[in-house]
C-alpha cells in the first residue's frame, strides 16, 4: 500500500526551492541530520510520521542546553502563494507592481510604490549594471550565517539593497524576487518516492541514460498501450458450483532501465508495495508468521547463520506453497546478462538477489536469461542437481543439507520459470532495451497469446522504423502470397513473421509545462532536450490457416492500366488491414 505518512526507512524525495529533487532514506532516531545543501539540514525524526506533500521550513532553534538545533515548521498552503496576487488584472499596473513583493506574514520586501499611474513599465531605461546590487557576496554570506529564520528576511534585505529595484518592471521584479527566493528560501517539500517521482528524479537530476531517457509521458503511454493492469486471482463461482480460477495477467518484459519499467508495471499490478500489516490492501497472499519465519531462514543466502536447522521432508521441499511462483498477475523478465539489473527496485525495498518473502514481487516477479529461454540445455542453472536419498541427507551436516535444499529449490524455480515462459500465452510484451528490437521480437512474439499487446520503447526512432518496415503491409502481403519455408525463417526478406502483428504503430508524446501567473501566463522557456523517445505498439494476432484474400473498396484506377492494377491487387491481398488500399499502397 502506498503510505500516506512518512515511514521509518522509507525513501522519500525532497523537492527544493530550486526545483531540483533529492532522494534520501529516512532513518529513524539518528543524530545525523539530513542535509539539503545550501538550504540547511534537519533531523529525520522531524519529518517522520508526518504526511507527504507538506512543505517544511527550516528554522534554527536553540535547545535548552544551549545547543543550536534545527527545527522544522510546516508552511501552510496559503503562505506558499502569498506572493501571488491572483486578483491582479491581466496587465499589472504600476500600483500593483508595488504589491507584488509583499509577503503574507508581515515581512515586506520594501518595494517603492509609485503613485498609481496606470502605465506599464518597460525596460528601455535600464542599463545592465552588475553593481546595482549593493550587497556583496560576503555580506550576504555573513547575513546567512547569522540568520536563523526561513530566509525571508534575507531575501527582503537583498531586495532592499538593490539600487535599481524601482526601475524594474513588474515582470522583472517578480522574476528577480523568484530567483532570490529559489536561492535563499529554506523550504522543502516531502514527496513520496513512487515510480513517477523516481522516474522524474532520475531523468532530471540523476542519470537519464540509466533509464534510457524514458520520459513520464512515454512511460504512461507504455502503461496504457500494454494494457498492463491488476489481475487479482478471482475465483468466480461458475454454474456447476466449481470455483473457476481466472487465468491470465502475465506480462513479459525486457527491461534495461535498471528496473524502472518493472517497478512501473508492478505498481499498476498492485505488486510493488508489500501489504500493510494492518491488513489494508492485502494483495491476495498474507503469509502466516510461521511460514514467513520458516522461509526467511532458508532463503537468506547471504546470511550463513541460518537458524533453520530442521530440514523439511523431501516430499515437501517447498514449505511455502502459497508463495511459490505466482501464476497470475505476474511479470516475467528476460535479461541479457547473467543477472538481471533491477537496482532501482531498492527504493521499493526489494532486493532481487535476496528477496524478502513478504514482498509481493518475490512471487510475482520471475526472471530468466535469454540463454535459459532459448537454449536451457546450455545453462548451468537449468541442470538438475542430483537427487540424494533421505538417509544421506540426514547424515549431512546442517550447512551442507540446507545448501542442498537451496540448490534444489533454486533449480526447481528456474525450471518452473523456464518451462512456463517457453509455454508462452503471455498477455503482453513490453520492451525497453538497447538491443535490436528485431532480435527480441523474433523470439518473444511467438510466446504471446492472441490479442496480446506488444509495446517497444526506444529513445531514438531508427530501430523502430526498421522494425515497422519488417511488419509493413507490402512485406506482409508478399509473405502471404508467397510464403517462405517456415523452417528457413528468418530469411533475409522476412527477418520476422510479418503476419503475427496487427496495426504496428509508432507514436510519441511530449508534455509542455506552463507558468500560470496573473498576467504572466506562458509556456516555460526551456525544457529537457535529448532523446525524444518513441513507442512502437502492435497487437499479436493469430493468422488464419491457408490462403486468405482481402476484400474491400479499392481506389478507382485507370481502366487501361492493367499491369499496375494487377500488381496493386497483389500487394493488397491478405494484408492485415483487411485489404484497404488507402493507407499504404504506395
Amino acid at each position: 500500500m502506498k503510505q500516506e505518512l512518512v515511514q521509518p526507512h522509507a525513501y522519500v524525495a525532497l523537492r527544493l526551492p530550486s526545483d531540483s529533487t533529492i532522494v534520501v532514506q529516512v532513518l529513524p532516531n539518528t543524530v545525523s541530520t539530513i542535509s539539503i545543501g545550501k538550504y540547511g539540514a534537519f533531523q529525520a525524526n522531524n519529518i517522520l510520521g508526518r504526511p507527504y506533500h507538506l512543505t517544511f521550513e527550516i528554522r534554527d532553534s536553540v535547545t535548552s542546553d544551549g545547543k543550536a538545533q534545527s527545527g522544522l515548521r510546516i508552511v501552510p498552503a496559503a503562505e506558499l502563494y502569498a506572493d501571488i496576487k491572483d486578483e491582479a488584472p491581466e496587465t499589472p499596473t504600476e500600483a500593483e507592481a508595488g504589491n507584488l513583493g509583499a509577503s503574507g506574514d508581515g515581512v515586506e520586501y520594501e518595494i517603492v510604490g509609485q503613485n498609481g499611474e496606470v502605465v506599464m513599465r518597460t525596460n528601455r531605461r535600464i542599463t545592465d549594471d552588475p553593481s546595482s546590487q549593493i550587497m556583496t557576496m560576503d555580506e550576504i554570506e555573513a547575513l546567512k550565517a547569522q540568520s536563523t529564520g526561513s530566509g525571508k528576511e534575507l531575501i527582503a534585505k537583498i531586495l532592499e539593497s538593490h539600487s535599481a529595484l524601482d526601475q524594474k518592471t513588474a515582470f522583472a521584479l517578480a522574476k528577480y524576487t523568484l530567483r532570490k527566493t529559489k536561492k535563499y528560501l529554506r523550504r522543502f517539500t516531502v514527496v513520496p518516492l513512487d515510480v513517477a517521482t523516481l522516474a522524474r528524479w532520475i531523468l532530471t537530476d540523476k542519470e537519464p541514460m540509466k533509464i534510457m531517457e524514458l520520459r513520464e509521458e512515454i512511460l504512461s503511454m507504455i502503461g496504457s498501450w500494454s494494457n498492463v493492469h491488476c489481475t487479482p486471482s478471482v475465483s468466480t463461482p461458475s454454474l456447476d458450483g466449481e470455483g473457476m480460477q481466472t487465468k491470465g495477467g502475465r506480462w513479459l518484459v525486457v527491461d534495461e532501465t535498471a528496473g524502472l519499467l518493472v517497478a512501473y508495471m508492478a505498481e499498476k499490478m498492485a505488486i510493488l508495495h508489500p501489504p500493510d500489516h494492518n491488513g489494508e490492501e492485502a494483495e491476495g497472499k498474507v503469509l502466516s508468521k510461521q511460514e514467513t519465519d520458516a522461509v526467511n531462514g532458508d532463503d537468506s543466502i547471504g546470511n550463513p547463520a541460518t537458524k533453520h536447522v530442521v530440514a523439511p521432508p523431501p516430499d515437501h521441499l517447498r514449505p511455502r506453497k502459497t508463495s511459490g511462483p505466482g501464476t497470475t498477475n505476474t511479470i516475467t523478465l528476460i535479461h541479457a546478462n547473467a543477472q538481471p539489473n533491477l537496482s532501482l527496485l531498492k527504493y521499493f525495498h526489494f532486493d532481487a538477489f535476496n528477496p524478502s518473502i513478504s514482498h509481493p514481487l518475490e512471487s510475482h516477479l520471475k526472471t530468466l536469461s535469454w540463454l535459459q529461454l532459448l537454449s536451457p540445455e546450455d545453462d548451468m542453472g537449468c541442470a538438475e542437481p542430483e537427487i540424494v536419498s533421505e538417509e544421506t541427507i540426514q547424515s549431512w551436516k546442517s550447512g551442507k543439507r540446507s545448501n542442498h535444499f537451496r540448490k534444489r529449490r533454486r533449480w526447481e524455480r528456474i525450471n518452473f520459470v523456464v518451462d512456463e515462459t517457453r509455454a508462452g500465452e503471455f498477455d503482453g510484451l513490453i520492451v525497453a532495451s538497447i538491443m535490436n528490437p528485431v532480435s527480441i521480437l523474433r523470439h518473444t512474439v511467438p510466446l504471446l497469446r492472441g490479442a496480446a499487446q506488444v509495446v517497444v520503447y526506444s529513445p531514438t526512432i531508427e530501430p523502430l522504423v526498421e522494425l515497422s518496415d519488417y511488419y509493413s503491409t507490402g512485406r506482409r502481403t508478399a509473405f502471404v502470397t508467397n510464403p517462405p519455408d517456415f523452417n528457413s525463417m528468418p530469411t533475409e526478406d522476412f527477418p520476422l513473421n510479418p503476419t503475427l502483428l496487427l496495426a504496428p504503430t509508432i507514436q510519441t508524446a511530449r508534455s509542455r509545462s506552463w507558468q500560470v501567473l496573473p498576467g504572466r501566463t506562458h509556456p516555460l522557456m526551456t525544457g529537457r532536450g535529448g532523446s525524444e523517445g518513441y513507442v512502437f505498439t502492435a497487437t499479436r494476432v493469430l493468422p488464419a490457416e491457408g490462403k486468405i484474400e482481402a476484400r474491400g473498396t479499392f481506389k478507382r484506377r485507370k481502366v487501361d492500366d492493367g499491369v499496375t492494377r494487377n500488381s496493386s491487387r497483389q500487394e493488397n491481398a491478405a494484408s492485415g488491414d483487411s485489404g484497404s488500399m488507402e493507407i499504404d499502397a504506395s
Binding site: 468466480t236 492472441g450 526512432i461 509508432i506 483487411s578
Partner: protein
C-alpha cells in the same frame, strides 16, 4: 453493493482465451476502422438472417456463430450471407449506400445490424466466403477510445495515460470523475483502479477482505442522455461495481452519488472535465461534512480545460483553497508513419512514386538523352540521311520504356526497395486541452503534529552509533530491538547496518 447475481467479469479486465457469448468484441477492419459489437449466440434483434446475428462490414459479413468460441486475436474469414432476400424495410437503396463516403459507411455497417425486422427464418450454418476477413479483438480502453460513439470531446490515449499517471492512480485508488462525457477516460480509469470485486472474494474472506481498499470510479455526468447511454455501456461492458455513474451537476449539487452519502466515497484522486471546474472546487474541500475526499490521504486533482482562461480561473481558485504543487501542462502526441519512398527515373509511370531523377548522375543521363534526341531532331531538318545510319539508345519510344518498367515490376520486391523514411501523420492534434494538476495534502492539525513529535522526538544527543566499531552481530541485534519485532524492518535494518 448492487452487483447482480449474474456477475460476469468484464472483457476489459479479464478476457479469457476465447471470445465468449455476450462479450463486447471489436472487429478490426483496419487501423482506424474498428467496429465494436456484442457477440450474441442468437439474433436478439431478429433481423432475419438465417445465420443468427450477423455483423456486416465492408469487408464481408460475419455471423456471430463464426466468432464465438474463437481465440481472441484470430483472423476470421467472412461468410456468404444472404443480405438481400430478407426484406429491407426502412433500409435505403443499396446503390445509394455505395456512393456515400467510407467513414459514414462504417457507421452504417453497424447500423445495418441493428435494423429490426420480424421474419421467421430457418437457421443454417455459415458458409465461408472466398474473400474478406477481420481480426477479432477483445476490447481495451485504447481500442474503445478509438471506436466509441462520440458524444463529446474525447479524452484521447496520450492525455488519459498521462493524467492517470500524474494522478497516481493505481489499483485500489478511489477516483472521482466529473464530466464522464463519451466514457473514454472512464474505461481507462476503471482498468487502472481495478483490484478485484468486492463480493467475488467472499470465498476466501478469511484473510483477504479485511478492510481492503477497493478501487472504484465514481463518475458524474450532468447531461441526462449521455449519462443514460454511458450507464448502458458500463453494464454491457461488465464494469458495474467498478464504475458507479450518477446523473448530477457536481458544481451545483456536489459529489453525492445516488445511493451513497458523499462522505463515504473517500476519494483520493479527482478528474474534472467540466466547463467551469473552479465552480466544483468548493465541493472538494476537507471542511465540508459532505466532503467526498478521503480524510487520511493526499488528494490528487486534475482538471481538463481547452481554454487558457479556464485554467487561470481554476488555478486562482485552487490557490485559495489549500491546494499545493499546482502545475499546468499540455500534451502533444502524434503518430509516425513509416514508408518506403522510391525516387528515380526507373520508376517512371508507376504509382505512388516520385519519378524525377534520383541523383545528379541520373539527371545528367536524362539530359544527355534529351540533348541527343533534339540533336537528331535538328539534324533531321538539315541532313535527314545521317540519322538513319546512327541509331542511338534514345530511340526507344516512351511507350516502350513505360512498358518495360511495368514488366520489370513483376519481379521486384518493392517492400524492400527505396529509402525507408518516417514522418508525422498527415493531421496532428496540436491542442487537446490544458491539464492542471494539484495536490491537497492530508489534513494535519496541531494535535497530529504533537502526537508525531511525541512518537519521533527530535534527537539532541543519541549516542547509539557513536560508540566506535561494533561487530556485525551487535548491529543485527541493535536492528532487531529497534524494529521491535517487525520482521521485515529488522531484515532491512540489518542490511543497512
Amino acid at each position: 453493493m448492487a452487483i447482480s447475481s449474474s456477475f460476469k467479469s468484464s472483457p476489459f479486465l479479464h478476457c479469457g482465451p476465447n471470445a465468449e457469448t455476450d462479450s463486447l468484441a471489436i472487429l478490426h477492419l483496419k487501423r482506424d476502422l474498428l467496429i465494436p459489437t456484442v457477440l450474441r449466440s442468437h439474433d436478439e434483434l431478429n433481423e432475419g438472417y438465417s445465420e443468427g446475428k450477423v455483423s456486416n462490414t465492408r469487408f464481408g459479413s460475419f455471423p456471430h456463430s463464426t466468432l464465438i468460441g474463437v481465440p481472441w486475436g484470430s483472423q476470421v474469414r467472412a461468410s456468404i450471407v444472404d443480405t438481400g432476400s430478407r426484406g429491407r424495410k426502412g433500409w435505403e437503396g443499396k446503390g445509394k449506400k455505395r456512393k456515400r463516403d467510407k467513414e459514414s459507411q462504417a457507421q452504417d455497417d453497424v447500423a445495418g445490424v441493428e435494423k429490426k425486422q420480424k421474419v421467421e427464418v430457418e437457421s443454417k450454418a455459415a458458409v465461408k466466403a472466398a474473400t474478406g476477413f477481420v481480426h477479432l479483438l477483445p476490447p481495451t480502453p485504447e481500442i474503445w477510445t478509438a471506436s466509441l460513439p462520440h458524444r463529446t470531446q474525447v479524452v484521447y490515449t496520450p492525455d488519459y495515460s498521462y493524467i492517470l499517471h500524474r494522478l497516481r492512480v493505481t489499483p485500489g485508488t478511489v477516483l472521482i470523475e466529473a464530466g464522464a462525457g463519451s466514457g473514454s477516460f472512464t474505461h481507462a480509469a476503471a482498468r487502472a483502479v481495478y483490484n478485484g470485486h468486492q463480493n467475488t472474494n467472499t470465498e476466501d474472506s478469511t484473510q483477504d477482505s479485511i478492510m481492503k481498499r477497493w478501487g472504484k470510479v465514481w463518475s458524474f455526468e450532468f447531461h441526462e442522455q449521455r449519462a443514460q447511454k454511458l450507464q448502458e455501456e458500463i453494464e454491457e461492458h461488465g464494469l458495474n461495481g467498478i464504475v458507479e455513474l450518477t446523473y448530477r451537476d457536481v458544481c451545483q449539487d456536489g459529489f453525492t452519488p445516488n445511493d451513497t452519502p458523499a462522505s463515504e466515497l473517500k476519494a483520493n484522486a479527482i478528474f474534472l472535465d467540466l466547463p467551469a471546474p473552479w465552480l466544483a472546487l468548493k465541493n472538494l474541500t476537507r471542511a465540508s461534512p459532505s466532503s467526498p475526499l478521503s480524510p487520511t490521504t493526499a488528494i490528487h486533482l486534475c482538471t481538463f480545460s481547452p481554454c487558457i482562461e479556464q485554467v487561470q480561473r481554476t488555478i486562482t481558485t485552487l490557490r485559495t483553497q489549500g491546494w499545493t504543487e499546482i502545475e499546468m501542462v499540455e500534451i502533444a502526441a502524434h503518430r509516425i508513419e513509416v514508408r518506403r519512398e522510391r525516387v528515380g527515373l526507373a520508376e517512371e509511370g508507376l504509382r505512388g512514386v516520385n519519378d524525377s531523377p534520383a541523383s545528379v548522375d541520373e539527371a545528367i543521363e536524362r539530359l544527355r538523352e534529351v540533348e541527343g534526341r533534339s540533336r537528331i531532331f535538328r539534324n533531321e531538318g538539315n541532313e535527314g540521311e545521317e540519322q538513319a545510319t546512327a541509331p542511338g539508345p534514345a530511340q526507344v519510344s516512351k511507350q516502350q520504356r513505360l512498358e518495360n518498367i511495368r514488366h520489370a515490376l513483376e519481379g521486384r520486391k518493392l517492400y524492400k526497395e527505396g529509402r525507408l523514411i518516417h514522418r508525422a501523420e498527415p493531421e496532428i492534434k496540436t491542442h487537446t486541452s490544458y491539464l492542471v494538476f494539484a495536490i491537497l495534502p492530508r489534513g494535519w492539525s496541531e494535535e497530529d503534529e504533537e502526537l508525531a513529535q511525541g512518537k519521533w522526538p527530535a534527537k539532541a544527543e543519541v549516542k547509539e552509533e557513536n560508540g566506535g566499531p561494533i561487530s556485525k552481530r551487535q548491529k543485527k541485534k541493535g536492528a532487531k530491538t529497534r524494529a521491535g519485532g517487525n520482521k521485515e524492518l529488522e531484515i532491512e535494518a540489518s542490511m543497512k547496518a
